[in-house]
């Protein structure tokens, strides 16, 4: 396989997964499913920041954050700031995160996702009004679970030790 077609292939996978994440969030979620819905887009963005930091970074995270702000009818910048901080943390811990197997990687991602959601909480609190309850933090758990499933899937798909080429 030539280098060019490999590049095109990985771009396609990257964009495809991001589009899929956005589509999943557009489903008409409601009730308790909405309450525990994982943040598909954040997980996808952080996943690609971990594996392809040269292709996707702060700018993309910021854009998808604005999209999330629009979806919730929140103030613009709320999720954008949080996503950017999440990207920074993943970049900061990148070499460390890449060494772990899926379950430990997900466990290490948990504090990052939690920080992201706490930033959403804090910005919303400062800019809009106090949040209604702490249901805000529930998606962190499902997002972590989603990360574990994706990491496990990639591990099985590519074989051991090949996750860097995901």
């Amino acid at each position: 396989m030539s280098a060019a077609s490999q590049t095109r292939d990985s771009w396609r996978r990257l964009l495809g997964s991001l589009v899929l994440a956005v589509l999943l969030e557009q489903l008409p979620w409601s009730g308790w499913l909405l309450t525990i819905r994982p943040d598909f887009v954040l997980v996808a963005v952080l996943f690609w920041v971990l594996h392809q930091p040269a292709r996707i970074g702060f700018g993309a995270a910021f854009f998808f954050g604005l999209l999330a702000d629009f979806q919730d009818g929140a103030v613009f910048g709320q999720h954008a700031i949080a996503y950017v901080i999440g990207v920074y943390l993943v970049l900061f811990l990148r070499l460390r995160l890449l060494q772990f197997d899926p379950i430990r990687q997900a466990a290490q991602l948990f504090p990052i996702l939690l920080t992201t959601q706490l930033v959403v909480l804090l910005v919303g609190w400062l800019a809009v009004n106090p949040p209604s309850g702490l249901a805000l933090l529930l998606p962190v758990f499902t997002s972590t679970l989603l990360w574990y499933l994706i990491a496990l899937f990639m591990r099985l798909w590519h074989g051991k030790g090949a996750q860097d080429r995901a």
């Binding site: 280098a3 956005v22 589509l23 557009q26 489903l27 008409p28 979620w29 409601s30 009730g31 909405l34 930091p53 040269a54 970074g57 702060f58 700018g59 995270a61 910021f62 954050g65 604005l66 999209l67 629009f70 979806q71 919730d72 009818g73 929140a74 103030v75 613009f76 910048g77 709320q78 954008a80 700031i81 950017v84 901080i85 920074y88 970049l91 900061f92 959403v120 909480l121 910005v123 919303g124 800019a127 809009v128 009004n129 106090p130 949040p131 209604s132 309850g133 249901a135 805000l136």
Partner: protein, 281 residues
């Protein structure tokens, strides 16, 4: 991680600098949006971008409910039809009465030279999307400025008041639900006529504010819009009182109520457009 086509040490700015740049941008967006409301164009752009996607993504749910409906038992349908027919008869009788009352009312108003009540137009809309309700409870409906929706219009469903249009995009609009924090609705208690102000508490609950402790109110009382704000027409059911308690610290009763509109159940809503009041010389 030097991939082909990328130099190892050719990075412009360090991650921390870039983080600070994006944080600054984000913070300024927050300020610009919350203080000056200057980003409505961006919101409209997103709404146009996502509108077709959201319509398409409604399809899986529709297909599932179609399939579910297909296997509904014949008996059940028959029973439902009988119930609907009975209800229709009742409604027809009620409507005749209401028409008669309306005619009489118009005559009386003309006699007393009162202003005629403004007529009412409605726009049918369907629930398009629901976001997280962490800070405000908003839903998106599939009608926007192009079909005459304006900011501030009341939105109702078959059971009661859903909320008020808060943002309008070209093809969709955002409705703030009555239970959203800081959303105020002037109401009166149906049984006693006592006027009050219902404020949202979040998490699908309402609170009737500033009710003195001796007020006659009890669980089960219905709250209707009073119409004194000229935003909501009078008499739309808003909520039902669920709990009344008093505390030593406050001179007011704590009256909690639940909204009547079934946002989780119904997908069709109506936007009410009050015609501008005609002033006679």
């Amino acid at each position: 991680m030097a991939t082909p086509g990328q130099l190892m040490f050719a990075r412009g700015l360090g991650p921390t600098t870039r983080l600070l740049f994006w944080l600054l941008l984000g913070a300024s967006l927050v300020v610009v949006d919350s203080r000056y409301h200057a980003l409505d164009g961006l919101r409209s752009g997103f709404s146009l971008l996502l509108r077709p996607v959201r319509e398409v993504m409604l399809a899986p749910g529709d297909v599932a409910s179609e399939l579910g409906g297909f296997f509904t038992r014949h008996r059940l349908l028959q029973k439902e039809r009988d119930a609907l027919l009975a209800e229709r008869t009742q409604l027809l009788a009620g409507m005749n009465e209401a028409r008669e009352l309306g005619r009489e009312n118009a005559e009386l108003r003309a006699l007393m030279q009162l202003q005629a009540r403004p007529g009412q137009q409605t726009i049918h809309a369907a629930l398009l999307y629901r976001g997280h309700d962490w800070f405000a409870q908003r839903i998106t409906i599939d009608q926007g400025a192009s079909s005459g929706v304006r900011s501030g219009l009341p939105v109702v469903d078959a059971n009661g008041l859903v909320g008020q249009v808060s943002r309008v995009y070209p093809l969709s609009s955002e409705v703030t639900q009555v239970s959203s924090p800081d959303q105020l609705t002037p109401v009166f208690v149906e049984r006693t006529g006592q006027r009050g102000l219902a404020g949202g508490l979040g998490q699908g609950r309402l609170e009737l504010r500033y009710m003195p402790t001796q007020t006659d109110i009890r669980p089960g009382d219905r709250l209707l819009t009073s119409g004194i704000d000229r935003v909501y027409p009078a008499g739309i059911p808003v909520g039902q009182v669920s709990r009344v308690s008093r505390s030593q610290a406050s001179p007011y009763l704590r009256v909690e109520s639940l909204p009547l509109a079934g946002i989780d159940r119904s997908r069709a809503v109506l936007v009410l457009i009050a015609e501008p009041r005609v002033t006679k010389p």
